[in-house]
Subunit: 321 residues, 2 copies
């Protein structure tokens, strides 16, 4: 398939009706040198970009459907962490070749998540090269409403959505060629868009967990000038970690990464909101600790004793655990 054909196919498959385009503020979509978009009066634009490379951000054998799904998900997760409403996406796709079947599956994966969140694909390019997907997600937010990393204060509750550590566990099982009943924790992270929007006006800080709980919490603590205490037994996990010993489980939860859950801090006066968010967004929410004076993270086990985690999160170019 030639590049122009590929672009045309993506354009046709992802196009929404012109009335929907207009609802989405798409004045000019795929097919010209750039897209023209209308940001409604009284809204700010929120923009995030993230690239997924084969072998680094997803196993080489990941399906085209899941590659597209995950790339959109991790970018929507960034918008969710700001409390923004996703609106548009631009996609840059590098492919060693362009096989009809692969492209069809890729488009299907993209569409399934894009439609769920009302995201219109408005531009992009396709190039030949090692398999890599780069996506820019654009969203909207009311001026001043964005959730930032810098607002955490001592005494605030530390809350995490969903379960953590599962994606890293799946990856380890795949690497060890052990059976994995369900790869979805790794391949199809659920961006917590509705939760992020619900947190606006309540959460004092928010981030999504991409590099691991400790690494991403570290960003919040440095930006806010605080420390934190984590109660290890309160860290949420799913079945995949159920059979592991405490230390191995904690290491996955603290350092695993690729979870794309929201980690946020909440002033105690808003504690009662947690229950209504659980209900409204149908999302598991766990209070895992609190913000305190000082710096860095202290972890305590069920016996109240301090625990030093082995790893501190995934860093590209850094020494890997």
């Amino acid at each position: 398939m030639k590049e122009f054909q590929l672009i045309r196919q993506i354009q046709q498959e992802t196009s929404v009706s012109s009335s929907a385009d207009s609802r989405h503020g798409v004045k000019l979509g795929i097919g010209d040198d750039a897209a023209v978009l209308e940001v409604p009066a009284g809204q700010h634009l929120v923009a995030a970009t993230d690239t997924l490379n084969a072998g680094t951000h997803f196993p080489e054998d990941t399906s085209a459907y899941d590659i597209a799904y995950k790339c959109l998900a991790v970018n929507l997760s960034d918008l969710a962490a700001m409390g923004a409403t996703p609106r548009w996406a631009l996609l840059s796709l590098s492919l060693p070749g362009a096989e009809q079947e692969w492209v069809q599956a890729f488009i299907a994966g993209f569409k399934s998540l894009a439609q769920e969140h009302g995201v219109a694909l408005v531009g992009g390019d396709t190039t030949s090269g090692p398999l890599s997907v780069s996506l820019t997600a654009l969203g909207l937010i009311k001026p001043g409403a964005q959730l930032m990393r810098s607002g955490a204060r001592p005494g605030d509750l530390l809350v995490v959505s969903g379960s953590i550590g599962g994606a890293a566990r799946v990856l380890d099982l795949l690497k060890g060629r052990e059976p994995v009943s369900d790869r979805r924790l790794l391949d199809r992270p659920q961006p917590r868009v509705r939760l992020g929007q619900a947190l606006v006006g309540f959460a004092s800080a928010c981030i999504d967990i991409s590099d691991g709980l400790l690494a991403d919490l570290g960003h919040v603590l440095r930006a806010s000038g605080c420390g934190a205490l984590i109660h290890l037994q309160k860290l949420p996990h799913d079945e995949l970690l159920a059979g592991l010993g405490d230390r191995q489980k904690w290491d996955y939860q603290l350092s695993g990464g690729d979870d794309y859950e929201l980690l946020f801090t909440l002033p105690r006066r808003h504690e009662e909101m947690i229950q209504s968010w659980r209900r409204e967004t149908e999302t598991r929410l766990s209070v895992i600790g609190e913000i305190e004076d000082g710096e860095g993270v202290r972890c305590t086990g069920p016996d109240g004793l301090a625990y030093d985690p082995q790893y501190t999160g995934f860093e590209h170019f850094g020494r890997q655990p």
Copy 2:
């Protein structure tokens, strides 16, 4: 260097003062999950994204400075082709490793062009992987003012900026290990931002030449439902092509690609504007032909005879010439 250090360095080196941030509408820049940007009332957002892969879009030995320069340039060229004013950029950088010196040079190349066009880097990510740079450029335009591909009409003049074919010639010389006095035609394309803005309200269609004159003109003709006549002896070239025979020269000019010049169509009643645009934007402008009824491109040589070009432009995944 670790990823977080790399991001911090890019952030520091590219940061502008907070007053400049405010002028640029940057409410929140690099350092959170996403950027928050203010699109001024009465303006639409223009968004383009393009990826450059080592070995495909630039020779492997291209300097870090030029890789950054070119990646920003090709995206600004897309905004220029819409008549937009560039404002912000998001950068996604995949690197096999992260060497201090390489990164410094990359940042310098990015900054030099970004400052020239008043572009603020507001977000991005760095990952380990094969060398690849993906950039999203965001700009502004008045509602309805965008230059599109679809407005060309029979009788319109066909005009091109700068010179064409030079970048492809440089690439061929490099491949043949022949001496190249100046690689800049390949490595540092000049986005015609001021020209694009000047064309708003006058040009009936516009595109930038990335895949070659014939290929990109083809996009305009298909979108507009017209054909075109090109006078080969009017195609602008620079010294690099001066010594070549006509046919070889024409093939470079018609099919070379990587020029990032603007190709636009102009109703004849605006013909006198060309001279003032030359003066105001200090840009070479050549009338190379005209739009006509029908479809496809006819080329005539100096003898008035038809000429069939050998190649029809660069396509990824397509058969290469």
